[in-house]
Amino acid sequence: MLTRLPSDLTMAEAARGPGGARVDLLLVADMVERGSKVLDVGCGDGELLRILAERRAVDGRGIELSREGVNECVAKGLAVVQGDADTDLVDYPDDGFDYVILSQTLQATRHPRQVLEHMLRIGRRAIVSFPNFGHWGIRLQIMFGGRMPTTDNLPYSWYDTPNIHFCTIKDFRALCDVVGVRMEKATALNAWGRPLRLAAPWWFWNLFGEQAVFLLSRGRKSDVR
């Protein structure tokens, strides 16, 4: 069954977040059980792995495409390898991790469906966070500006963006159904990084959520309202 995270807890923690840790990362961290083994795909500068190690005592590993990101992570003592989510997940054995996390990276993968399938092969659970292309601000930019949207979070022009597979919350739920994964938890953040009301309907999330975080597990599709 789908349950959503209690939003006020997350915000309270975000307020105390060391060094102003990003709310979406804290949301992801909240979904991870203490002491578990985690693979962070597209781990960037290692911020999430650091949060997970400090707050959740996880045994964390990372994959990062950019050389600079990897070297920064390794210099911080994180177990990170240079690699590509699209091509390198295949080398990881089944059930190697408790969680495989894809934080703000799904839209930059070439084959999002295969990536998602690999994630749930490698890990018992997967956590995916992504920018919601169904957000009203983006809809308005296309409708009235007539151009590909750019936002503070997505500042790239269409011709130089690494983000080649944008989706909406509704699209992602559809993908989960196609792949046949169970959605265990989900949350959406509005433009100010504030989680949307738990009881709000999906269409509301899809319109007002700027980002979404999903906790997924193996199994048949869940009965989402």
Binding site: V70, V74, G77, A79, V81, D91, Y92, P93
Partner: protein
């Protein structure tokens, strides 16, 4: 400490003396402590020369083994007794350096088959009282590591905090983690691979043929006959040295510049700076290195194929490994390209090992691991800091 005791001896016979009586501590293994070689024979007696830096802590938990490369030796961070030059990895190893001798007890043994005090072809064969020459058994990377394990047993070090090395040194690191996984807490294989490629074997063969084509080589008996295959070994070194650099680095350093002249001489003088540089590399190398050792050590690298020891399945070499790895490669290294390191990383991932992997952008080629590469230092320091915390080492910063 070691630095103060070393006096530089620069004369023609200095190197020859190093083979039996080096300017390093030596552990001699008696005839009843033979080294079992992959070639199927026993080596006994034999000796290992080594250098140490720093202090072993009370728990004997902070030992770091440095494995040197083909033409390196145990003089990692002190003045070299033959050349008078600084140690080959002083940028990496020393007080406050990434491999910090204020925190770690660093050991570097001269490898088996080399010529700086560990038994090799230029050492005296106790059976004849003469240099071994080609009677010395062909040794492998696994033999080197087996010998190092005997050294550590002798020093009373059961478990290593870390093993680090580049190139042939990196091969030894990988062999350590495969042969003695429980003795290695952290491993740093740098600019290396799990096997020597056909291209690398080919380069080595050219070098060996250059040595053996020198009439002064005398079928390997030059030490007995009072000659030295300088020209052959120098040519071998010149050829090999090109493989340690990159086209971009050679272009940046030398381009097509002339050496001490503004026009070509229309002769075969070293008109170009790059020629002069290579000739210098060749001639200085022969002053400190033994030609037969060059044959033996290149052979050991050629024979290295870690997967072959495990029925061709590399993953078996690292099955259930408890070691944490930091694999490092360099973008312009064409001798051990990044793809070799990536293969190691894939295997370690498949084995569920805790592995970090960084590729460093540089135009300095294979030799980059020996040079001033700030990113390399930051990565090694960060990796060892984190590993030290995990091992509960004291003296963390």
């Amino acid at each position: 400490m070691a630095e103060a005791n070393l006096t530089v001896v620069r004369d023609a016979t200095a190197r020859a003396r190093e083979a039996d009586s080096p300017h390093s501590p030596v552990v001699r293994f008696a005839p009843d402590q033979p080294l079992q070689l992959d070639a199927g024979v026993e080596l006994a007696p034999f000796q290992i020369a080594y250098q140490t830096y720093g202090t072993l802590d009370a728990a004997r938990a902070n030992a770091v083994l440095i494995c040197h490369a083909l033409t390196g030796d145990q003089h990692v961070a002190n003045i070299h007794p033959v050349t008078g030059k600084p140690g080959w990895w002083e940028t990496m190893v020393g007080p406050g350096r990434p491999i910090d001798t204020d925190r770690y007890f660093v050991i570097c043994p001269n490898v088996l088959g080399a010529c700086m005090g560990t038994t090799g072809p230029s050492s005296t064969n106790p059976a004849t009282g003469k240099p071994w020459g080609l009677d010395f058994p062909v040794t492998t990377v696994r033999d080197m590591v087996r010998a190092q394990a005997m050294l550590l047993d002798h020093l009373g070090i059961e478990s290593l905090f870390a093993v680090a090395g580049g190139s042939l040194g990196g091969m030894q690191v990988l062999q350590w983690t495969a042969s003695y996984p429980q003795r290695v807490f952290a491993a740093l294989p740098i600019a290396t691979g799990t096997r020597h490629s056909a291209q690398n074997i080919a380069f080595h063969e050219v070098g060996r043929q250059a040595v053996m084509a020198d009439p002064d080589w005398r079928g390997g008996r030059y030490l007995l006959e009072g000659t030295n295959p300088r020209r052959g070994l120098a040519v071998a070194r010149m050829g090999a040295h090109i493989t340690y650099l990159s086209d971009a680095a050679l272009h940046r350093k030398f381009g097509r510049k002339f050496q001490d002249r503004s026009n070509p001489t229309f002769s075969f003088d070293a008109d170009f700076e790059v020629e002069s540089y290579l000739r210098h590399q060749g001639s200085s190398f022969v002053e400190r290195f033994d030609a037969n050792s060059y044959l033996y050590l290149t052979r050991a690298m050629d024979y290295f194929d870690l997967a072959a020891d495990y029925d061709g399945v590399l993953a078996r070499a690292f099955k259930n490994t408890p070691t944490r790895f930091c694999v490092i490669s360099f973008t312009s290294d064409w001798l051990f390209p990044t793809s070799e390191s990536r293969a190691i990383v894939h295997t370690l991932n498949a084995a569920g090992a805790r592995v970090s992997f960084a590729e460093i952008t540089t135009d300095k080629g294979h030799d980059a691991f020996l040079l001033d590469e700030p990113e390399l230092f930051a990565i090694v320091r960060g990796f060892l800091d984190a590993a030290g915390k995990a091992r509960g080492l004291n003296g963390g910063r």
